[in-house]
Every structure is written in C-alpha cells, then in structure tokens.
C-alpha cells in the first residue's frame, strides 16, 4: 500500500502558522521581484485568481477584494517542509520526499489495521506538531494514492483523508470517472489532450483501456500508469516528473559517502540535472533546497538528517546560480564523521521563463541574461549530442549586495533570531 501526503496550499499555510489573522481570508504568495502569483489560499482560488497570474494584471482586483499579498519566504517554507517530512517518519519508515510539500509513503512493510484511522492520526499529528494542514490519500499504488489525495483535497467532508485500499471496484471506478486525464500522476497537458482525442476522457476510461494499445501509443510509461490504475504497483518516483511545483533530483548513494568533497560532487551533479529539467520545460526557479541524510534503517543512534533552503533574488535557470547556493548550503549542514546514504536537491518557486520580469532589480543586465540563456542552450545541446552530463561549471560567484524587490516578505520566523515571532503580551 502507498500513501501520498500533500500539504494544503503549502506556502500560504506556512504564513498562516505564524499569523492567525490570515486564516479564512484570501491570501496569495508571489514570486521574487513580486512578479506573479505562485500560491493561493482556497479563498483566493474561489475569487477566481489564477496561478502564475502576473501581479501587475490583477493588483487592483486584489486590493478591491482585500487579498493579502506576500513575497515568497523560502527560508521559512524550506524549514517547515523539513519539519513536515521528519514528522511523517513517525508514521512510516519509508518516506519518499517528492517535492517541497509532497511525500509518498511506502507502507508495505508496516502492519496497519485501519488505513483510515492511520491517515487521520497522520493528519492530526502534522497539524498539532507543526500547524500545517495536510491531505492523505491511501491506495494500492502510488498513482491511485495521488488520485485519492486530489479527491480528498476537494471534498472537505473527507476531513483530509481518503482510503481507497478496501474500496469496492464500483466505488473506486466512480471516483476514477471524476478524475481528468491531466490530474493523473505523470500525465501532462500534451498527453492529456492526446488521450482525449483518442476517446479517453478520465481515469476510469484509461483504467479500462487495452494495455497493448496504450503501450503502442504511449510507451511503457503509459502502460505502467494503466497498470497502477488497475491496482498493480509498478512505478517508481524517479520515473515521474512533477513539473509544476518543484523539480527534484535525488539519489541514494551506492555506498556510504563520508567526505564533503564527494557529497559536493554528487550535489553539483544533482543540481545540474535538476536545472536541465527546469530548462527543458521552459521554466525558472527561485529557491533551492538541499537535504542530506544517513541511513534511517540502521538502528545505531548516529542517524542524521538535515536540510536547508536558499533563495535567489530572481528566478533563474542558470545552473551555476544553483550550484553555488547548493554548495553553500552543504557547508552549513554537512557534519563530519557521518556515513551519508542519500542526498537531494529541490528547485522550487517554479515560474514560466517568459513570464518573468527581470528588468530593474536583477543581478544581470538583459544582455547578460541572454548570454547566460544561450550558454545554457549550448550546454544542453552538447549534453544531448554527446550524452554526457555536466558535473560542474566554473561559477561566477554570488553577490548579494544589491537590492531586491520584496515588498511583502514575512519574517523568517524559524531561521533568524531577529525575526522570530513577537508576541505582544
């Protein structure tokens, strides 16, 4: 059995933990340079505010509707994410962090009598201990678990939990009929449209489709999706891209790694891979989270897991920007004498490359951005032709001395002593 835990409106929820006045009102979080909207509360969604809407287009509408606006506080979001992921380990030994606010839990080596109760305990536990509301979907496969989470998210009567493990086929099929192609894990806009053209309109249609025909038209990936919809687990996390919210690049090490140098090499590689994925989908990202850990399955007490997030002042898809940050983060969290088993990077705050306003408060001039983009294009072309992966680029260094537009940044409640919550007593 698998579960998918998804934080509800994560960035907004993080802000709400430290500012209860934000509850039940429309709230949006912007990209850096306050360019466009990357997160919305349910109330904001109800107002019709769209994802990735540029601020200049809807500023008046937001003001007229008393929508609270925040600049992105990735140090806060990264820290809260780390807490949530740690908390999940109390409910399952196999937590697979998928993005900054999502994780799959592999429940196959656990004895759980009632998955609904288990899910409720998880939701209640995360909310009590951290203040973040989450939704859990539980099913025989990761694909079905993700569908369960999506359904539960839009149905408040489910109280954040949907257990499909002991669901009868007719009931399950009814759920699947309401799930659009594009909401299935791993099916993007293009495939969703292609499926629709071929007469498959929802997850139920896809479940019933002929596997051989699917394999022919949608490769083995498509076949695996169908199998998973039919309750046969066969997909791994690494197979699927979650292009919208975050790009992850993580790997377990084949053998233990102990030196910082070795981890730095691996991290540089993961960053390069992630940035490549970013460029491939014509996006840029604002923040990078690095996490490293030792083996959680060993019973010895030296288990160590840590993560840290850094934020760029502008959205970027330029590998050196992220490599620099990642290595700085590694300096902060690396502890000597530990046997590291896994490392990973997440790029978050993803925006379309063309929606970004890069003018005034940018490290690079327009010309320089063009040069950087062309450099990356060239790099990607070379990598594609020769099949090699770039390990490390000479970096330009990172200068933070210039001003960045962040009009509505909330305090870094969990990472700066000068910015902790002040209670007027």
């Amino acid at each position: 059995m698998f579960a998918l835990v998804d934080c509800n409106n994560f960035f907004v929820s993080c802000e709400r933990v430290f500012n209860p006045k934000l509850r039940e009102v429309p709230v949006v979080v912007l990209t850096n340079n306050d360019g466009c909207i990357i997160a919305r509360s349910n109330e904001a969604k109800s107002l019709g505010i769209k994802m990735a809407e540029p601020l200049f287009k809807c500023r008046e509408f937001l003001a007229a509707n008393n929508v609270r606006i925040f600049s992105p506080n990735f140090l806060l979001y990264g820290d809260m994410s780390h807490r949530v992921m740690n908390e999940l380990q109390k409910h399952s030994k196999n937590v697979e962090v998928y993005s900054i606010d999502e994780a799959f839990l592999d429940l196959n080596n656990q004895v759980i009598r009632d998955y609904g109760v288990w899910g409720k305990n998880l939701v209640d536990g995360v909310y009590k201990n951290i203040g973040i509301p989450v939704t859990v979907g539980i099913a025989k496969t990761r694909t079905l678990a993700k569908i369960a989470t999506e359904i539960a998210k839009h149905d408040s009567s489910m109280n954040g939990v949907l257990d499909l493990t002991s669901c009868s086929q007719p009931v399950l099929d009814n759920f699947l009929k309401k799930v659009e192609n594009g909401d299935i894990w791993g099916i993007g806009r293009r495939y969703a449209a292609k499926l629709k053209n071929l007469g498959i309109f929802n997850a139920y249609d896809l479940k019933k489709a002929d596997i051989g025909w699917i394999r022919k038209n949608f490769t083995v990936m498509g076949q695996r999706i169908v199998m998973e919809l039919n309750g046969i687990p066969c997909r791994k996390i690494d197979d699927v891209r979650n292009a919208k919210k975050a790009i992850a690049s993580t790997r377990s090490f084949g053998k233990y790694v102990t030196t910082k140098k070795e981890i730095a090499q691996a991290v540089s590689l993961y960053v390069a891979r992630a940035a490549e994925k970013l460029r491939k989908q014509d996006s840029r990202a604002i923040a990078i989270t690095l996490y490293i850990r030792t083996n959680p399955h060993k019973s010895d007490e030296s288990y160590y897991s840590n993560s840290r997030t850094a934020q760029l002042p502008y959205p970027s898809s330029y590998t050196p920007d992220f490599v620099d940050l990642a290595l700085k983060l590694l300096d902060e969290i690396y502890l000597p004498g530990k046997k590291y088993k896994k490392a990973g990077v997440f790029l978050t705050g993803i925006v379309p490359a063309d929606l970004v306003q890069q003018k005034l408060f940018h490290k690079y001039s327009d010309d320089r951005i063009k040069v950087n983009d062309n450099l990356m294009k060239c790099l990607d072309k070379i990598n594609n032709s020769f099949g090699k992966r770039t390990l490390r680029l000479a970096s330009e260094g990172f200068d933070r001395k210039w001003y960045m537009k962040q009009n509505a940044l909330s305090p870094r409640y969990t990472s700066d002593w000068d910015e902790i919550l002040v209670v007027t007593n």
Partner: protein
Amino acid sequence: MKASVLDGIICSMKKQIVEFYPPLYSSSVSAGFPSPAEDYIDKKLDLNELVVKRPNSTFFVRVAGNSMIKAGIHDGDILCVDRSIEARSDDIVLAILDGEFTVKRLKISKSKISLVPENPDYKIITVNEGNSFEVWGVVTWSLKEFTSGR
C-alpha cells in the same frame, strides 16, 4: 563524581581487597570502576540538546509586554514553545485568542478555560463561546539576556 558513586567505588574496592578478587574494569560506573571511554572528549555543552527535545515541533518566540512578569517572563525574553506537548492546567501557553497571540497561564476547570496573567495590572481572560481560542503550544523554557547585547 557524585558521593554515592564514590561510596560505591570504595565499597567495591574494599570488597575486592577483602575477598582477593582481581580488580575488574567495566564501562558501567555502578560496577565500581569508571571507564576512560566514558570521557566523551568531543562532547560540549549544547543548548539545543538541552532545550529542544523535539525539534520538529519546537519554535522560538519573543515576548513584548509585561503581563507575565511574576512568572519571570519579561519584555524582550525569548520563549521556547513546543506544539507537541498536551497543554494542562497551570502550563504557561502561547495561545491564539480571537486571532491574536498571547502568552498566559492556562487554567482549565470543569466549567471554564481561563488565560491568567502574572501581573496585577492585567485581567484574567475567560474564554467564552463567542471567542475563537486555540493553544498554539506550551512554553517550555525562557531565555533572558541581562547584558542587553553588550
């Protein structure tokens, strides 16, 4: 070393002399001989280890105001708050009352919940049906600086 431990060592030494057993080295102090391996050379006093028992659910807040002076909490103090602790009557809690944060002593009786200040200039707040109320976390430690950042 504590007196009881020393006594233990002396007693067992006496025992061994009287009974002619060869001295035994053991890693457990209770057996009489402390092991050199117990001197954790690397270990330093770590405030995090002392104060933050559950990092996931622990947060720090700063107090502005003096409604809890008699509990030793003054304007400018930093409080360590743990969300995972089940709040009990008499705990000092960080609570949210009608959308505002406040630090008060929680009093729970059969009939009501009250937020009690520790300063005669402030009133006791009784939580009514009409209020929205939530315990955000329990205050576990406070940090007070005496040198004003000097």
